[in-house]
């Protein structure tokens, strides 16, 4: 597999949200606004690229028996760095994302990529994989955030799309609405894949 394929993999074939269905906790919780999707997505992308890089560099010296402990130390370190830097320099978005920044530690996408990809493949491929997966995650949750924000509040990225008289569809903003919107998007992607003759 080429580096480009590794990069593109995360956008569609193995899109973390819509194909692998990983990282659901953060996905459901923060996608009430499109901007949260970007903030969360980029924070997770940074962690993913860094952890994939470190795990890949160390893949020959990490003992099999303690590999999960090693992954967690690496991931937790980068998450703490992101948490501190965001609070210091992007205070508003840090406040909006709240506890979900520290919770990137337990976002399954990151440890899944460390285990399934970075611990087996060279550094360049691992970085490409982390970047692709991270951006695939970012786009997915931003789209979900746009849909929920539009239906629930009549805006996208805070810009008013529906006029003031729009009767907000509040279901979109509560967790139940997140499941429904995600389910519809998942179904749509499966339908498209079926049409393309993709074997999932």
């Amino acid at each position: 597999m080429s580096v480009l394929n590794d990069f593109l993999n995360g956008f569609w074939n193995e899109n973390p949200v819509f194909r692998l269905v990983l990282g659901m906790c953060a996905t459901m919780a923060i996608t009430t606004q499109a901007i949260n999707g970007i903030g969360m997505g980029l924070a997770a992308t940074f962690v993913l690229v860094c952890s994939n890089f470190v795990v890949s560099v160390m893949r020959k010296i990490i003992p099999e028996k303690v590999r999960l402990a090693v992954f967690i130390v690496v991931i937790a370190t980068f998450v703490t760095i992101v948490d501190l830097v965001m609070e210091g320099f992007f205070y508003e978005i840090h406040k909006a994302l709240g506890v979900f920044i520290p919770l990137i530690v337990v976002n399954c996408i990151i440890i899944a990529r460390a285990e399934a990809f970075a611990s087996k493949y060279p550094v360049i491929n691992s970085i490409a994989d982390g970047l692709g997966m991270g951006l695939g995650f970012t786009i997915s949750i931003t789209v979900l955030g746009m849909i929920r924000e539009l239906l629930g509040n009549g805006t996208i990225f805070g810009i008013t799309i529906f006029s003031k008289s729009y009767q907000a569809f509040l279901l979109a903003l509560i967790p139940g609405g997140a499941f429904i919107a995600l389910g519809l998007l998942l179904g749509m992607m499966n339908k498209i894949n079926e049409k393309l003759g993709y074997k999932g």
Binding site: P63, L84, A168
Partner: protein
């Protein structure tokens, strides 16, 4: 045995490196974070008090409210006179947990403004307590001209459409804040705290 030593060595070295990296980042972000937190609080205080020329977080009074709890009161001054007083009020009776508001008063005990500092209320329903429409109705009210309860509960405050619990929690917090101010008025408005 050799294997155990190898496992321990790898983990130990990794943890030491991680700790060193975090220490560097912590040092680097320490001041910006303190500054951001201070600015966030200061913005809330300045939004709820009348014109002033000082930094209200540099002129504070700490008041003992019993049971080991203390309340920090911010004071805004203009030409040596206190023009505004602000402090945080909170209630744990919100729909999604704690709601915290910054309550701003003029020296006579009339509400100048309130800001919702923190809440976890339902978007579109309880979260309407953050709208200017809800918050502005408190302006000019005081403990002597207002019964700080929702109209539904026999008071003077309008609830918001579709939500009772959240505004009830905020009103309760404000009522307690007003009583607190009334009890400690002299200490708060003394020239030096």
């Amino acid at each position: 045995m050799r294997e155990i030593i190898r496992l321990v060595t790898v983990l130990t070295v990794l943890c030491v490196l991680a700790a060193m990296a975090l220490a560097r980042v912590y040092e680097f972000t320490k001041d910006p974070i303190v500054n951001q937190r201070r600015l966030a609080k200061l913005r809330a205080v300045e939004a709820v008090i009348p014109e002033h020329e000082n930094q209200p977080d540099q002129d504070t009074v700490t008041i003992d409210i019993g049971e080991g709890n203390k309340r920090l009161v911010y004071r805004g001054t203009l030409e040596g006179q206190i023009t505004g007083i602000a402090f945080e009020v909170s209630s744990s009776k919100g729909y999604g947990g704690e709601v915290v508001a910054m309550l701003g008063l003029d020296p006579n005990g009339l509400i100048y403004g309130i800001e919702i500092v923190r809440h976890s209320e339902t978007p579109g329903l309880g979260a309407k307590i953050t709208t200017p429409e809800f918050r502005s109705q408190f302006k000019g009210r005081s403990i002597s001209n207002t019964k700080f309860m929702l109209k539904k509960d026999g008071g003077d405050i309008d609830q918001v459409t579709g939500a009772t619990t959240s505004p009830r929690a905020i009103v309760k917090a404000i009522r307690e804040g007003m009583e607190f101010f009334n009890d400690h008025k002299d200490t708060i408005t003394e020239d030096k705290g």
